[in-house]
């Protein structure tokens, strides 16, 4: 019977700890099932977004028409001169902030402070919803004001609109699902559903949320800056 070797200083760390974990019986990782599953799902999801981004880079190379100038298209004017990327900067700021509130919610969850956990998750979901709302605004501006469609646009390569709507749409779908998921978790936190089961679920939801944020950083860099 080889349980994971536990030394006087607790479980071994680093490479040795990894070998211990993998050669143990019962379980390979000292995490709840749901968390292991979420990690695996996120790696799988990483492959999806990677394929999308590789596809984006590829069609940007193959298309013969010039690529539109993003700093003009994504500019927004508040009465005066248009400011490049201002909307997207605010959106990114909102989403990163939501990661902060999510991290705090995880912390308060483990402290079993139900009220604070509930409100912090709600705040996270609110920021997420705000992000999606601003994305709707951005899309409608691109579609109705600038005339950008998935199949073509007046600024250059048709693939610009195709890949932009597809990838940001797919990400927006992730954020929307995340908001619904967070609301569900928040509701159950308030009801005290996790008092017996433990509050790992808040961290699992948090893992998903941070992942969606991280993906946004890459989309931001690839679509708006590159």
């Amino acid at each position: 019977m080889s349980e994971a070797a536990v030394t006087e200083n607790g479980p071994a760390r680093g490479l040795e700890g990894m070998v211990d974990d993998w050669s143990a019986d019962k379980q390979a990782y000292h995490v709840p099932w749901g968390k292991a599953m979420m990690w695996l799902f996120l790696v799988s999801d990483t492959f999806i977004f990677t394929c999308f981004l590789v596809g984006y880079l590829n069609v940007r190379m193959t298309t013969t028409a010039p690529w539109p100038n993003q700093s003009e298209i994504f500019a927004l004017s508040f009465g005066g001169d248009p400011i490049p990327l201002i909307l997207i900067a605010i959106m990114t700021f909102v989403l990163i902030t939501s990661s902060g509130t999510m991290a705090m919610a995880v912390n308060y969850g483990y402290r079993r402070d139900k009220a604070k956990t509930f409100w912090l998750i709600c705040a996270t979901a609110f920021f997420g919803a705000t992000f999606v709302g601003m994305q709707v605004f951005e899309w409608s501006k691109l579609i109705f004001d600038e005339g950008i469609r998935p199949w073509g646009n007046p600024f250059g390569a048709a693939q610009f609109g195709s890949i932009f709507f597809m990838v940001t749409g797919f990400h927006g779908l992730h954020v929307t699902c995340g908001v619904i998921y967070l609301m569900w978790v928040a509701f159950r936190v308030k009801r005290g559903y996790y008092d017996n089961k433990g509050y790992e679920i808040v961290e699992i939801a948090g893992l998903y949320w941070h992942f969606v944020d991280l993906v946004w950083v890459f989309i931001f860099a690839f679509f708006y800056l590159l």
Binding site: H30, V31, S44, V59, S162
Partner: protein, 596 residues
């Protein structure tokens, strides 16, 4: 971070107790029922795929005599046959069927970690099959673009099913991927996190290893297909140009410009090559267990077998472009991918040697599962060797898109996994049904299938060398193909019909034995692995009765010197049968030898 201590993981398990017939057999959360449901749906689609293959073989063998097959239908049949067999039949049957049935039993678990999600997985899979089958009934019929769905031809007017057929195919694939992801997350986490006491990863049967690594491959490879499907759906429905270059059709330029057909091929094969191993690795695992049990010998080189599975899984992600040597990609890519392709032959050959060495001097019991398992070694060596031809760029160029390719991949990922499926179904039939099958009919089934498969595919190698191209509706007159090639085609068709009809023996045997088969005694093959040690046969919901088992040894203690029987079940304590120290085992100085 303050984790709640996880004293006994089993407490996390929330068993669903069915209240009525529907919850027990239809919307069941029991992994065994789900496995049978998955398997049945997969076998049903497989029968559709088999029927299609007989139809297009009729056209190829007797082009003059079958008026009801026009070129469009021929292409649709070929396309649907390929996609059904690879994705909806083999993948679903190995992962959804055998993965579901074997993983919890072999891991000593009560069920999958999330039974509800497991149930969702099988129903999502059913929806994807319904969408796929619906494409037969829409206007224009199913897509006829070839199972690889290469653009731009998928969207061209001349391709059958270019409007609704392809859309339904892509949606069905996307739904299938959702189903596989839900199932796959369950399988992988169950193997990692829900093994019983004493069951370390290196004591798992190779079946679990094969299915586990294949599941991980599925989780990382299917995303590429999902992305390709979404992009192609956009191309078809929204008029985008991801995969569509500027095309002139019938003198008119299409509304597309600047896309990259090669991108689709890369995405497709980044999924497509691991897919080969998603099918092959579970087959490797299952056949290892069948061989070891019926040879009454431990599997030769267990650790090497495990690492070979892991190595093949890893390498399978960096060989995809060997399907694209003639696509016009950069020639240096061909050099890289030929090298990695040939490297993958090393762990694969190791596995073949180990199977043969497992048989060496074994106390072989030649029953039906063993017939199929040994038959698999033949067909797999055969298909593997032709793979070496096609892996080399210079040899592949003339052979590409000929019947040689068809012969190769049908031997290696058609016939071989299917022989393993038969071996596995016969081997575990007593466990699943509690009855024995008819041994004589099963052996007859083996000889007809095995010899028939050779009668179909051996001549195809020759046709390939002649240069007969694949996917041609009819073989016209050419300078380089002799007329006798058509006679060979007719012979292949006759063999194909023969083999297809012979499968009725299998279905009859399986169904008849459910009711009339001899009642199986407990552990009828004398197997050491855990799935046969359940208190009930077939195992009940929850598998293990009151207490979860404890494992004291690996799954391959056969013919251990000094043991009471010629096998020691995994859950036999050391106090009853001492564990053999395999690393310092010296048969010449074995004290217990006197007992034998």
């Amino acid at each position: 971070m303050a984790y709640v201590p996880l004293a006994d993981q089993d407490k996390e398990m929330e068993m669903h107790h069915p209240h009525n017939w529907v919850e027990e057999y239809v919307f069941s959360q029991d992994h065994k029922v789900i496995a049978i449901q998955y398997g049945s749906i997969a076998v049903f689609t497989g029968i559709v795929g088999l029927t299609l293959s007989v139809l297009f073989r009729l056209q190829l063998g007797f082009p003059e005599s079958v008026d009801f097959i026009d070129p469009n239908f021929y292409y649709q049949a070929v396309t649907m046959h390929g996609m059904i067999m690879v994705v909806y039949f083999l993948t679903a049957l190995f992962l959804g069927g055998f993965g579901n049935y074997m993983i919890p039993l072999m891991c000593g678990a009560r069920d999958m970690v999330f039974p509800f999600m497991n149930m969702l997985s099988v129903w999502t899979f059913l929806i994807s099959v319904i969408i796929l089958m619906a494409s037969f009934f829409v206007g224009g019929g199913p897509t006829g673009a070839g199972w690889t769905l290469y653009p731009p031809q998928t969207a061209m007017e001349g391709t059958p099913g270019h409007d609704m057929g392809i859309v339904l195919m892509l949606i069905s694939l996307a739904v299938f991927i959702i189903a596989t992801t839900m199932g796959g997350l369950n399988y992988a986490v169950t193997v990692l996190q829900y093994r019983c006491r004493g069951l370390t990863m290196m004591r798992l049967p190779l079946t679990v290893w094969g299915i586990f690594v294949a599941t991980v491959l599925a989780l990382f490879a299917f995303p590429a297909l999902l992305v390709a499907a979404i992009m192609m759906l956009f191309d078809t429905l929204l008029g985008t140009s991801f995969f569509m270059p500027a095309v002139i059709e019938a003198g008119q330029p299409l509304d597309h410009n600047g896309g990259s057909p090669l991108l689709f091929q890369h995405l497709f094969w980044f999924f497509g090559h691991p897919e080969v191993y998603i099918v092959a690795l579970p087959a490797f695992g299952l056949v290892s267990d069948v061989l070891s049990t019926h040879a009454r010998k431990n599997i030769f080189g267990y650790r090497m077998m495990v690492w070979a599975i892991v190595a093949i899984g890893g390498l399978s992600f960096i060989v995809w472009a060997h399907h694209m040597y003639v696509s016009g990609m950069h020639p240096y890519f061909g050099f890289f991918f030929a090298t990695t392709t040939l490297i993958i032959a090393v762990p694969t050959a190791m596995k073949v040697y180990n199977w043969v060495l497992t048989l060496w001097e074994g106390d072989i019991r030649l029953n039906a599962p063993m017939y199929f398992a040994i038959g698999f070694i033949f067909t797999f060596i055969h298909g593997g060797l032709t793979g070496l031809f096609l892996g080399n760029v210079v040899i592949d160029l003339p052979l590409s898109d000929t019947y040689f390719v068809i012969a190769h991949f049908h031997m290696v990922m058609g016939v071989s996994p299917i022989l393993v499926l038969f071996a596995a179904i016969y081997h575990w039939y007593p466990l699943m049904s509690g009855r024995m099958f008819n041994e004589k009919i099963a052996k007859l089934h083996f000889w007809l299938t095995f010899l028939g498969a050779y009668a179909i595919y051996l001549p195809m190698h020759y046709l390939g060398f002649l240069g007969v191209p694949r996917r041609y509706y009819v073989l016209g007159e050419t300078d380089f193909i002799p007329m006798s090639a058509q006679d060979l085609n007719a012979a292949i068709t006759i063999a194909a019909i023969f083999v297809a009809v012979a499968q009725l023996l299998f279905f009859w045997n399986i169904i008849w034995s459910l009711k009339h088969g001899k009642k199986a005694e407990k552990n009828p093959w004398g197997s050491a692995s855990l799935e046969w040690q359940t208190p009930d046969l077939p195992p009940k919901h929850g598998n293990w009765g009151e207490d979860l088992p404890t494992v004291y040894r690996w799954a391959y203690d056969y013919s251990v010197p000094g043991a009471h029987e010629d096998f020691i079940p995994q859950n036999t304590p050391e106090s009853v049968e001492p564990t053999v120290d395999t690393e310092h085992f010296d048969p010449d100085h074995d004290q217990s030898k006197a007992d034998i």
